[in-house]
Point group: C2
Chain length 268, copies 2
Amino acid sequence: MTQTISPTPPIRRKRTDEIVDAIKRTIIEHGLQPGDRLPQERELMEQFAASKGTIREALKALEVQGLIGIRTGPGGGAFIETMSEQRAMSLLSNYLFAKALSISDIYALRKVLEPLVAVSAMRSIDERGYQRLNDIIAIYDHEPADARERWDQRMAELDFHAVVAEYSDNALLAFICRFLQRLLKDLAICRDIYIQPKPVARQEGIQYQRQLIAAMRSGDAETVHAIMARHMAYAEQAMLGLQAELTGDFIHDPVARGRGEKRRKIAP
Amino acid sequence: MTQTISPTPPIRRKRTDEIVDAIKRTIIEHGLQPGDRLPQERELMEQFAASKGTIREALKALEVQGLIGIRTGPGGGAFIETMSEQRAMSLLSNYLFAKALSISDIYALRKVLEPLVAVSAMRSIDERGYQRLNDIIAIYDHEPADARERWDQRMAELDFHAVVAEYSDNALLAFICRFLQRLLKDLAICRDIYIQPKPVARQEGIQYQRQLIAAMRSGDAETVHAIMARHMAYAEQAMLGLQAELTGDFIHDPVARGRGEKRRKIAP
DNA sequence: AGATATTTGTTCGTATGTATT
DNA sequence: TAATACATACGAACAAATATC
C-alpha cells in the first residue's frame, strides 16, 4: 500500500495549481504586504518537493494575476505586488471581449455614474486639479489640423473624465468610470467613429465641461450632477448619430438600433 | 561586433512574455473562436525556437488570463476559451483587494445600477424567471433556525438580485451588478454583519421584492425603478446601522463614518 | 569601473500521467 | 487490453540579469 485512502481523493488536481493555491493561502495567512518577499525558487522547490519548472509555472500564474512581481539578481525573487489599474482593466477586457457590447450599453452606465463621480470629486479636487482639466480642454478647443490631431482630441475628451474620476474618494466608482472610458477608446465601432472626419460636436462638449468646472468650484453638487447628466446624454446621442451615419441606417426605433449594433466587438 | 545596433534594443523583454504576446496576436489576427485549437507544445517549440519549459510558462500565462484551456490526451492541447464570469470577478477582486472599499462605496453604485438592471430585466424576464425569484424569496421568508440558515438567507437575498441581473440585455451592467453582490458577500465587514444574530430587516426586504415583482409583471418601468431605488437605500441604511452597532459607535456624521470604515479589506 | 556572487531565465533529456482509439 | 498522442513533471546544466564589493 503506497498511499492511504483519503476521504476525497477523486479529483486529482494538477501539482502547479495546488502550489498556486498554497502560496496564495500563505500570502493571506501571513498577511503579506506589497514589497514583502516570498521564498526564492530554491526554497519553494524544497518546501513543495517540486521541480524548478513546476515552481516557475506557479509563480508565473501568480504574476499574471498581479499578485507578485519577480526580480533577478542577488536579493531577488518573488515580491508581493498590488495590481496596476492598467492590468486590472486589461484582464477585465479579456472577459468582456466576447460580450459584444454596444455604445448604448456603455452609456447606460456612464449616464448615471459620471454624474456621481463628478460630485464626489468636487469634494476633494484642488486648484491643481482644475488646472489639469483646463489643460486637457486646451487640447481640443480648436479645429484639428489633421487626422492624427483629430484622434488625439477624441482621446483627450475621454481623459478629461479620467482626471475628474482621479479625485473621487470612491475607488470602486472611479475605477469603473475609467474602465468605461477605456472601453470607449477600444470599442471597434467607436474607433470607426473617431476616425471619421466629421465635426464631433466639440463645442457642445467643451461648453458642458466649462459649466461643470464652474459648478464644481461653487460647490453646487446638484448642479454638478445635472450638468454631467446632460453632458453624457448629449454625448451618447452624438455617438449614436455618428454611428447611424456610418452604418447607413437611421435611428427610428432606439431599441431596435441598440440590438442591431450588438455584433460589434471590443478591439484588443 | 557581435550584434547590430537597432533603434530600440535597450528593453530586453523576457522570452516568455514575447511568446505570450505573439500567441495573443495570432489569436486576434486569425480570429480564433472558442473551441479552436492552438498548435501543440511540440509545434510551438519549433515555431518560436523555445524549449518546453518556456512554452509551458507562456501557455500558463494565457490560461490564467482565461484566454485558453489545456487538455491532455490524444487530440489535446491548448484551446481558445471564453473567460468565465467567476474568473473575471476573481481577477477583479485581486485588484480591489488593496483598495479598502466601504459599504457606502458599494452602495453608491448599487443605488443607481440595481434600478437600471431591474428595468432592463423587466423587458425579457419570463414566467420561469418570476418562479425562480419566488423560490429564492422562499429561502428567507421565515425566521432562521440556526446560524447556518441565517447565513444562507443573507446569501440568498443577494442571489435574488443576481437572478434579476441575469435577465438584463446589457451584459456590462449585469456583470457589474453581480460583481457588487459578490463584493458584499466577500467584504470582511459584511461577513461580520451577516454572522450577527440580529434580525436583519428581513420583512422589509421581502416587501420591496414582492412589490418589485408585481411592478415588473405590470411592465411599469418607472415604478420598478423607484421600488428598487428605495429597496437599495433601505438596505444600505440597514447595513450601516448594523455596522455601527458592531463597531460600537453611531452615525452622527455620515461622511466621517464613511471614512472611518475605509480600513476594512475584502476577504479572499 | 570592473569583477564576482546570487538569483532568475532558459534549455535539453527523460520519465510519468492521462485520455483517446 | 494495448497502443498512441498528448500534457505534466523531474533534474541537471548553462545563460542572463543585477546587486554588491
